[in-house]
């Protein structure tokens, strides 16, 4: 084979740059620039009276001492530990069950669980808002038929988190399940056949053989979940009027940032909240990536 000259090799390599450039330009303009800008304006302050002035880290110090911000961050942490494990367990269980070959109509179950991903969150909120209605909602209607006392699904902050978790799990469990199912499909079947010959049942195969190989995929869904759950916004924002003192304007950091920006007219403080949220998410996502590298050996990121 004739090899290329050094200069044409170099120019070939440089062509790669041209392939990447269009994406990279827009990437910088629409991701890096706003991110940096967000950090930049968080160092300033502008009120209804008086103009723009540089205040250094004052906004951050205010934020750390702001009981509403602290409350919102605590809440999304609690929400993360509540919603994500349950959702991932459901996703893993469903993926394993469908892959086991012991289920009748696996395609039907796959579609059924995945379909809610096609539903925009706002519509999910409208539907679940009615289902959770205090006096005339569907769930309480069912409870009424069973002569059980009505439940106020938004009764207090923790209960509201539970209700919202049910909505978000409904929305995303299918998405995570498909990721895991695709991973399962990629595993070699020799091990199962060997185990089956040895007399292992489907459940044992699932738990002992398939599950450990799923760890990289599970970590992927975990990272996606970290990024998603800390950004909780649509559900509490839309359902706010169902329980204005519980689903209030500082329910999650994003809800708080929106309220501070557009109602409170404090754009600099809102940028501070958004920017710090980004830092928190990046921090935990990176930790999860590092842990997954050590655990799974293979890593995706």
């Amino acid at each position: 084979m004739v090899s290329m000259s050094a200069s044409s090799l170099k120019s070939t390599k440089r062509t790669g740059l041209f392939f990447v450039l269009p994406f990279f330009l827009i990437f910088v303009l629409l991701l890096i620039v706003p991110l940096v800008y967000s950090g930049f304006i968080s160092l300033y302050k502008k009120g209804l009276i008086g103009g723009n002035r540089y205040v250094g880290f004052e906004n951050y110090i205010t934020m750390i001492h702001d009981p509403q911000w602290v409350s919102s961050v605590g809440r999304v942490f609690l929400y993360f530990f509540l919603q994500v494990p349950i959702m991932l367990i459901i996703a893993v269980f469903a993926a394993l069950a469908i892959d086991s070959g012991k289920l009748r109509f696996p395609k039907f179950f796959r579609i059924a669980i995945f379909i809610p991903y096609a539903v925009p969150a706002i519509i999910g909120c409208i539907i679940w808002g009615y289902i959770y209605g205090k006096n005339y909602g569907f769930l309480n209607q069912l409870l009424g038929y069973l002569h059980i006392h009505h439940v106020d699904w938004w009764g207090n902050s923790t209960q509201a988190l539970g209700s919202i978790s049910a909505i978000v799990t409904w929305e995303f469990a299918g998405y995570n399940m498909i990721i895991l199912y695709a991973a399962l499909k990629g595993l070699s079947t020799e091990l199962y056949e060997a185990a089956a010959v040895d007399g292992a049942g489907a459940i044992k195969i699932a738990l002992r053989i398939k599950l450990p190989q799923l760890y990289p995929a599970i970590f992927l869904t975990l990272i996606f979940s970290i990024i998603g759950s800390f950004q909780l916004f649509t559900e509490p924002q839309t359902l706010n009027l169902q329980a204005p003192t519980v689903l209030n304007n500082y329910f999650s950091p994003n809800v708080y940032a929106y309220s501070v920006a557009f109602q409170g007219q404090q754009l600099n403080y809102a940028a501070t909240i958004s920017f710090s949220l980004g830092l928190i998410i990046a921090f935990f996502a990176i930790i999860a990536t590092l842990v997954s590298r050590r655990r799974g050996g293979d890593s995706l990121l």
Binding site: V20, V119, I122, G186, Q231, T234
Partner: protein
């Protein structure tokens, strides 16, 4: 498994049944079955004629944003992924790692500063305000790089080079064909993501003609839940029916294109 599936299906069944009822019936009849009177047609009519038929505009906007944003994003991702996979130019590894790190940046952290920047540029309340940010998909670039790595043999490219073809011609005639399944995967992921997007269009668009379905429905929902004079309690039936109708496009797309989905997501989950 059956119990599990009921959890996922029941809410959808409820909304379909509810769209056949009047507002009063929604609260007095059993949620999962129909009322004595059948109002689906009048509800549907109300959905499409309320507010001078704005629902049709919202539907169209969602389609415009999803398709144009997704096609643009998929193209950019494909080009970039191919570039990262097949060429080792100076800094390519560093740039790729930066792009990957960007997956962790929450889009919500960017929306408000992007709003401020766009307003200074006069882009707020235009279609570009929604389409431009949708073009950036770091995850799509990652998927396309992995796909390029695994599905395009290097010797084919070398052979074409020896024949004297330019890099871009190689890409256009050989590589693109092999990348198609990956392209479609990123396309579909983007379509769903843009279709479901709520926060970005909410803050960028105030003209109702430009808003997508997600924002439009939140306005209608707010109308039955809003305060003061001007609330219309009977509008609830319209809101519920419009929610039911909005489910149809994406669900149809899903059912048809399931196959591509799994292929695509398997790229991310399994490393060669």
């Amino acid at each position: 498994m059956i119990v599990l599936s009921t959890y996922f299906i029941v809410p959808l069944f409820w909304v379909i049944a509810a769209s056949t009822k009047t507002t009063n019936d929604i609260f007095s009849t059993f949620g999962l079955w129909f009322a004595k009177s059948w109002h689906l047609w009048s509800n549907l009519k109300a959905v499409f004629t309320s507010d001078n038929g704005i629902y049709k505009l919202w539907l169209m906007n969602s389609l415009i944003y999803s398709i144009s944003g997704a096609v643009g994003a998929a193209l950019l991702c494909t080009l970039a992924g191919y570039g990262f996979a097949k060429y080792q130019f100076a800094g390519s590894k560093a740039i790729f790692r930066t792009v990957l790190g960007a997956v962790m940046i929450p889009s919500a952290a960017l929306s408000i500063p992007t709003f401020i920047i766009f307003s200074k540029l006069g882009l707020v309340n235009t279609r570009w305000a929604v389409i431009l940010p949708s073009l950036v998909s770091p995850l799509g670039v990652y998927l396309m790089k992995v796909y390029s790595d695994t599905s395009i043999p290097n010797n084919m490219i070398e052979a074409a080079r020896i024949d004297g073809a330019t890099e871009f011609k190689i890409f256009r005639t050989i590589s693109l064909r092999m990348l198609m399944p990956g392209f479609i995967t990123v396309l579909l992921l983007s379509i769903v993501g843009i279709w479901n997007n709520f926060f970005l269009p909410l803050i960028m668009l105030s003209s109702t003609n430009l808003q997508p379905l997600t924002v439009g429905l939140s306005i209608w929902y707010g109308r039955i839940a809003g305060g003061g004079s001007g609330r219309d309690a009977n509008f609830q039936a319209v809101v519920i029916t419009s929610a039911a109708v909005s489910l149809i496009p994406l669900i149809i797309a899903f059912l048809f294109l399931q196959r591509y989905w799994e292929n695509g997501l398997s790229l991310g989950a399994v490393k060669e």
